[in-house]
């Protein structure tokens, strides 16, 4: 018992930090694991909903990772998916209610996609792959890291889509009016979901170009 406590690693050990940083790039849930694409396409037309979505996923993922990690020894493996779903659904409903209470208009923009966090593959994937076999603290960090990687991609995609699609960032016009007077126009395709897929493709392209080891054979 006492030996174990002595060997306990510090809270922010190298290994634990990796849990947070790796999903940001080399093990990114969207661009490398290719999970959670659906919501990434749906909520990235504007920056604000994308960020709110990122935060929501972070809360849900971190919290359910911790809960599942605490319960991991008590969950019979045959019904573990159902248990995981119940935990995720609880968290999602909590987040949804909070959003509805405090940022109603954004919650309306995100519409069904907050509810659909339940089916977001990233969350189920992390619960299965990590929380079921790790202690609460690393599970928490893993949740934060993966959700941060997810949000990062969402924010990049949303940045370009809002900039070129609406000429705004966070709803404020950033492309000067004089450009419009010269004949510049917003790109209507950027607001449509196909362009989110293409933007995502470009991010994957750039990332693979920078990190050759990620290229699939």
């Amino acid at each position: 018992m006492s030996a174990e406590t002595k060997e306990r690693e510090p809270l922010f050990s190298q290994k634990n930090l990796k849990l947070v940083t790796k999903p940001l790039n080399l093990n990114n849930p969207i661009t490398v694991q290719v999970l959670g694409i659906c919501s990434a396409l749906a909520v990235t037309a504007k920056l604000k909903p994308a960020i709110v979505m990122g935060i929501s996923v972070m809360v849900v993922l971190a919290a359910s990772n911790v809960v599942i990690s605490l319960l991991r020894k008590g969950i019979p493996s045959r019904i573990r998916i159902i248990v995981q779903l119940v935990v995720i659904a609880t968290m999602v409903i909590l987040v949804d209610q909070v959003l509805k209470a405090f940022v109603y208009d954004i919650s309306k923009q995100l519409s069904v996609f907050v509810g659909l966090i339940i089916t977001n593959c990233i969350i189920m994937g992390r619960l299965e792959a990590f929380a079921m076999s790790n202690k609460p603290w690393p599970a928490f960090l893993d949740g934060i890291g993966n959700a941060a990687g997810y949000s990062l991609i969402l924010i990049i995609v949303a940045f370009f889509r809002e900039l070129f699609g609406s000429g705004t960032l966070f709803g404020l016009q950033v492309i000067p009016q004089s450009f419009y007077e010269l004949g510049y126009k917003n790109n209507g395709l950027m607001i449509l979901p196909p362009m989110a897929l293409i933007t995502l493709g470009v991010i994957i392209w750039v990332q693979r170009y920078k990190n050759r080891e990620l290229i699939e054979k």
Partner: protein, 382 residues
């Protein structure tokens, strides 16, 4: 010519392996083969020799588009002065159109070839002629008044995402020229649809609606006559108004054997059949217009001759070509009539069946394998 050859030979070692400018090899090679017929030949084995290569095919298509292009230039001027209520001579019309269209062609080529050169350079590929036709087709399917920077964006988009990400010329899934148009259609609808864009510098009081535009709002009394639509005296995208000129281009393509007659024939047949079906149904006025009107309205003929026949993106098997063409023709008319919010059904129909072409081929081949297996079994059993 000789001096140029000598000069090229002199600077050539600089670009070969180990040379100072080896990283520019693709560009040099592209320029050299553009100026002179390559003198490198296969050294061993028996080969069938033929004058047809990619360069020849591409040049033939370019020549085939010229009637439509020149008529388009004249028509742009004609429509412009007509909207102003002035009568003008042939040359005045033509020169006005030339001024409008030449910059679009130049932008299309400079941007497109620039990207192609860049990618060839990075990949160490030879530069090929793949963009020459696309670069000509893009100006032909755009409205005359299109802003140049929008053309540049669309060309860049279609070359990078339609072609280069799939591996360059010959590897693309959908027709890059149509992809450029589809991109513009959804990205800048204000410049690509409506009644305002089809006549260059139109007078405000003049209605600039295309036949499809009239049909869209159910205004069939103003629909141009069949003769006008066939000859092309109507507003529209630059190259697609004159069915006659397109048919001349089609004849060039068919005589030289560059494009598939099976596809052209079946696209027209498909459109006509669908028109006839709608005539039988006749639920609204759009369905009642004569079936052959559909073949001369909008971009139907242009799509059938120059777009659907693209050898890279169309079906490859003979039976597949009939199916592919028929489906394109029927779908184009279907989209037009049922969803007039997308007046140009031809573009969407071709793009859709570009994607389906490999599947069509797959089933045609599977069916053939099955048929032949059956024949073998019958022989073995008897």
């Amino acid at each position: 010519m000789k001096a140029l050859r000598k000069y090229l030979d002199k600077i050539k070692p600089n670009f070969e392996k180990g040379g100072k400018y080896h990283w520019l090899w693709s560009t040099f090679e592209g320029l050299e083969t553009f100026l002179f017929v390559p003198n490198t030949v296969t050294k061993s084995g028996a080969h069938i020799r033929d004058a047809v290569d990619m360069k020849r095919i591409m040049s033939t298509v370019i020549i085939a588009t010229l009637p439509a292009l020149f008529f388009g230039m004249w028509n742009v001027g004609y429509q412009h002065y007509l909207s102003l209520g002035e009568t003008t001579g042939f040359w005045q019309n033509f020169i006005f159109g030339l001024q409008k269209i030449l910059p679009v062609i130049i932008v299309s080529y400079v941007v497109g070839l620039g990207i192609e050169f860049y990618f060839a350079q990075i990949r160490g590929h030879e530069i090929n002629e793949g963009y020459l036709v696309t670069g000509m087709l893009i100006p032909l399917i755009l409205p005359p008044d299109i802003p140049l920077w929008i053309v540049a964006v669309a060309v860049a988009f279609s070359v990078i995402f339609g072609k280069e990400v799939f591996g360059g010329t010959g590897m693309n899934v959908v027709n890059p020229a149509l992809l450029a148009r589809a991109f513009l259609f959804f990205a800048y609808p204000g410049d690509m649809s409506g009644d305002k864009v089809w006549i260059a510098d139109k007078a405000d009081s003049y209605s600039g609606a295309t036949p499809l535009g009239h049909a869209l709002v159910g205004d069939f009394s103003h629909l141009a006559s069949f003769k006008d639509m066939f000859m092309g005296y109507i507003p529209g995208s630059v190259g697609e108004t004159s069915t006659l000129m397109i048919l001349i281009g089609a004849a060039i393509l068919l005589i030289t054997g560059v494009a598939s007659w099976r596809i052209m024939l079946s696209v027209f047949a498909g459109g006509y059949l669908m028109g006839l079906l709608f005539n039988l149904w006749g639920a609204n006025e759009y369905m009642q217009i004569p079936a052959y009107y559909h073949l001369v309205m909008g971009g139907f003929a242009f799509g059938a001759v120059f777009m659907a026949t693209d050898p890279v993106t169309s079906a490859q098997t003979n039976k597949g070509k009939y199916i592919y063409g028929l489906l394109i023709g029927m779908m184009a008319v279907l989209i037009r009539v049922f969803n007039p919010a997308y007046p140009e059904g031809m573009m969407l129909a071709i793009l859709l069946f570009n994607v389906f072409a490999p599947l069509i081929d797959h089933y045609v081949i599977e069916a053939n394998i099955k048929k032949r297996l059956k024949r073998v079994k019958a022989i073995v059993n008897s």
